[in-house]
């Protein structure tokens, strides 16, 4: 299964595909959730929402 397939499935609302993308991009989301050298749980939640929004809005 290629990245395109996963992305399309996620766009269509496939939960497993979304989880695959979340797993894949987790390190990036965690890195984007560090404030003053500390991991911010609330911001991480927001970043997860950002990923979901990005999946929906990204134009293939």
């Amino acid at each position: 299964m290629t990245f395109r397939d996963i992305l399309i499935r996620a766009k269509l609302g496939d939960e497993t595909a979304k989880m695959m993308l979340l797993e894949q991009y987790k390190p990036m989301l965690i890195k984007g959730s560090i404030l003053n050298g500390r991991f911010d749980e609330d911001l991480y939640q927001e970043q997860c929402l950002v990923l979901m929004k990005a999946i929906n809005q990204f134009i293939i």
Binding site: F3, R4, L7, D40, Q47, V50, L51, A54, F58
Partner: protein, 137 residues
């Protein structure tokens, strides 16, 4: 699935890189926004603290200046009106008006019925009103 840097040659790899950079930009933007929100929230909460501190100061000032003046003006009339009440009426009036006791407690305390206490209170109020009007005239 492991996130690996790809060569960016294949169509699929190009798509993935495009998505990654898209997401990266969004993540950075969200982080900056979050920091902004936090700074604003801190500013607001510190402002609120100042406000409440100001308002307590105002309240104290009010308590010290305005209310005693008002009380003093009213007190002479009120004192005179209260002095015309009977001991029992005065007790019931103060207990109801100032200590906010309910009629039931007062009734058991004084060995009266609920209605009896209510009547005493009502009579006391009427007397005070009447006396204060008399004073005005």
């Amino acid at each position: 699935m492991v996130f690996q840097r790809n060569e960016g040659q294949e169509q699929d790899e190009i798509l993935q890189n495009r998505f990654t950079s898209y997401l990266l930009a969004a993540v950075h933007r969200r982080r900056a926004q979050y920091i902004d929100e936090e700074v604003k929230a801190q500013k607001i909460s510190s402002l609120m603290e100042e406000r409440t501190m100001d308002s307590t100061f105002d309240l104290e000032e009010e308590a010290l200046s305005e209310i005693p003046l008002y009380m003093r003006l009213q007190n002479e009339k009120l004192f005179w009106a209260l002095s015309t009440l009977t001991e029992r009426e005065r007790y019931v009036f103060f207990a109801c008006a100032l200590e906010e006791k309910d009629y039931e407690k007062l009734a058991t305390e004084l060995g009266l019925s609920y209605k009896g206490v209510a009547a005493i209170y009502y009579r006391a109020i009427q007397k005070i009103k009447k006396k204060m009007k008399e004073e005005l005239l």
